[in-house]
């Protein structure tokens, strides 16, 4: 559960003598106002922005403090890395502290690539890319003469965004100014710099994960993110970015073998990470190269140990890149799991067929919507080439025989 909003009233007699987890509703104490956070409208959780406003909307307003967002990487780790950089850049802009851990690239390199925030722009988000319904020009909105049965149906809203100014926008063609970046406090964990201790581990975790968990706990204790410390000083949020856990560079053979020796190392680490996060004011984004992990059951376990989970599937290098149906998008986004914290119901997304596009000033996630094809010869590509959920029902679904007329 995320850190609570203090304004929720509750009789203080039920409050235990000490607050040891981050999800207790604190009573009659001063309001926590941490920059860059806001309470959720659904259940009063403390939310932070992921840096991508459409992703915030998908996750129910933002990422709850104390939770983990799992990103299943796309094949070349381009877009998942981009989202990680957005997340860290948002932390710099909101003046949170950062903790970056990586085994592949030096965390300093990741930090130097952060996108530049668009700070002088007033954040008016225009809904971009109206659906290309060529049958509906703007002046005909009042009366449809032919398709009058469709008059009362709502127009397809492709762009997903909330209209608050909670998140910021970034320009990916520029990197963040060093002055802005150095204003934020950043803790690094670069695996090659930590010598592997040959001492026996105390659990199923391998040494690299143990060292990472220990280092993270030290940072949390030292910098005062722990919720058990008294609330004397001003509180801040720690943003934890863990890059490519489960890959071979972390000395983990999850992605190398069908039957890995350390099959429970990553899951034990994620359990410990959840324990750490639930008791501190921090939020984590973890990327995992799930396309390398053959065992789907293991991937299910990993997903369940994280709170939010999304998977990215980019079209780069696949045959979908040249498919005309996908030419507006860079890839598909699947929401694997949405948490329910402090409440019974979770905020399920409206639609499950989502596609993303990385534009210069925005990472947009939109509902994959196919406009009706109104050319004279109605030609459909075969059902097998589409994403499945977005397939428009075609009368004759075989693509190999070329164009088919739809005869009524």
């Amino acid at each position: 559960m995320a850190a609570p909003v203090n304004s929720v009233g509750k009789p203080s007699a039920e409050r235990p003598p000490f607050n040891s987890t981050s999800f207790q509703k604190k009573t009659r104490s001063k309001l926590i106002s941490i920059p860059g956070t806001r309470p959720s409208v659904q259940n009063g959780q403390l939310l932070v922005s992921t840096g991508v406003t459409s992703l915030d909307y998908l996750l129910g307003g933002g990422l709850a403090v104390g939770t983990v967002l799992l990103i299943e990487e796309d094949r070349f780790d381009s877009y998942s890395r981009m989202i990680l950089k957005y997340f860290l850049a948002e932390g710099v802009v909101c003046r949170h502290e950062l903790f970056v851990a990586s085994a592949q690239d030096n965390p300093d390199d990741i930090l130097q690539e952060l996108p530049a925030p668009i700070l002088d722009d007033v954040a008016i988000h225009k809904p971009v890319e109206q659906p290309r319904l060529s049958c509906e020009p703007q002046d005909n909105l009042d009366a449809m003469k032919i398709a009058w049965r469709y008059q009362n149906l709502p127009k397809v809203q492709s762009a997903l965004a909330s209209s608050s100014r909670f998140g910021h926008y970034y320009d990916v063609s520029k990197t963040m100014e060093p002055e802005i970046r150095q204003a934020a406090k950043c803790h690094r964990f670069y695996l090659p710099e930590h010598p592997t201790q040959s001492s026996t581990t105390h659990s199923r975790m391998i040494e690299s994960y143990s060292a990472l968990l220990k280092s993270l706990q030290e940072v949390i204790h030292r910098e005062g993110f722990d919720l058990s410390t008294p609330m004397s000083m001003s509180r801040n949020i720690l943003r934890v970015g863990l890059h490519s856990l489960g890959s071979a560079l972390w000395n983990d053979d999850l992605s190398c073998h069908d039957d890995p020796m350390h099959s429970h190392a990553l899951t034990t680490f994620l359990y410990g990470l959840r324990a750490l996060l639930r008791s501190s004011l921090s939020v984590a984004v973890v990327t995992v190269p799930s396309h390398l992990i053959q065992d789907r059951a293991l991937m299910g376990n990993i997903t369940r140990l994280c709170d939010n989970a999304i998977a990215l599937e980019s079209f780069k290098g696949s045959e979908r890149e040249t498919n005309p149906l996908y030419k507006d998008y860079h890839g598909l986004l699947h929401v694997r799991q949405v948490p329910h914290l402090n409440c019974l119901a979770s905020q399920l997304p409206d639609h499950k067929d989502l596609a993303f596009k990385l534009k210069r000033k925005q990472f947009s996630i939109e509902r994959l919507h196919l406009p009706p094809d109104l050319s004279e010869t109605v030609s459909r590509v075969s059902r097998g080439e589409l994403a499945g959920a977005a397939a428009v029902a075609s009368a004759c679904g075989s693509g190999t025989s070329g164009n088919k007329h739809l005869d009524f």
Partner: protein, 274 residues
């Protein structure tokens, strides 16, 4: 406590069958809302509850139980509820420190091949009332063990056989000896009946626990796809053991989870449809 579920199960806080082993399972779904129902149900029935909360923090359960009308902090203070907060206890074991604090219940994290004996000992000491009733200690009803959830033990390296041993020991102690109830949550993955051949499968665990239990509630998504108004279906299966052999009775319901409860209805009669 969901009133519709009480009528489906023919149970009220004043009268419910004792000695029952209830299995709550799900497949590609989240059945933890049923755990919250049973927690508030048994607390209202004035039973002594031992709750192994292995996946969420205490305040998560407390906040939800508050909405269902039960206060977990009060129950814990009065001694009615014994709560094992798995996440908190695990940190001291996963990150070794000089002083070991807390109970040794999560010791299986240190070496999962050892098994869940310490966890069982924790359960046993919790459900047995210690001593007699001195100092006006309130008398609680039969003990109840709730586990949320058992599948995370498999993720942490414990073998399915050890988990089955643990559930068998708990059943012998709680259900047979003390005439209490057990509710366990087992979570499975998408592909059903995927035989991995080894003992390490959650399917194997699910089959084993299903055999031991007397009532199962299996939560799944709708077979026809994703729907915002109907969150899934629940299949309730009674496995009666008394009288004339095995007599199973199955019922299927669809459900929707609200903020303060869940509603259950016969398939096709959702308010979104009618």
């Amino acid at each position: 406590m969901f009133t519709e579920l009480n009528s489906i199960l023919n149970a009220t806080p004043d009268s419910f069958t004792q000695g029952e082993f209830i299995l709550v399972s799900d497949r590609q779904s989240d059945a933890s809302f049923l755990i919250h129902h049973f927690l508030s149900f048994y607390l209202r029935a004035r039973c002594k509850v031992c709750f192994l909360g292995l996946v969420q923090s205490f305040s998560h359960y407390s906040a939800i139980s508050q909405r269902l009308g039960v206060s977990l902090t009060q129950a814990r203070e009065k001694g009615q509820l014994i709560f094992l907060e798995g996440l908190k206890e695990s940190l001291s074991i996963l990150i070794p420190q000089e002083t070991t604090t807390g109970s040794q219940a999560m010791d299986f994290l240190r070496d999962p091949t050892v098994g869940l004996q310490r966890l069982y000992e924790f359960v046993r000491s919790s459900v047995r009332s210690d001593g007699g009733g001195e100092e006006g200690v309130e008398e609680w009803g039969p003990p109840v063990l709730l586990v949320d959830d058992v599948s995370v033990l498999l993720s942490l390296g414990v073998s399915a056989g050890a988990v089955l041993d643990f559930s068998h020991y708990c059943r012998a102690t709680v259900c047979s000896q003390l005439q209490g109830n057990i509710v366990m949550l087992v979570r499975c993955h998408g592909e059903d009946a995927e035989d991995d051949g080894s003992d390490e499968g959650s399917e194997w665990l699910l089959k084993g626990v299903t055999h031991q239990c007397s009532l199962t509630l299996h939560v799944q998504g709708l077979p026809t796809g994703y729907c915002r108004d109907i969150h899934g279906q629940v299949e309730v299966c009674w496995r009666r053991r008394r009288g004339d052999g095995q007599h199973t009775q199955k019922k299927l319901f669809q459900y929707k989870v609200h903020d303060k409860g869940a509603s259950f209805f016969a398939p096709g009669t959702s308010s979104a449809v009618l």
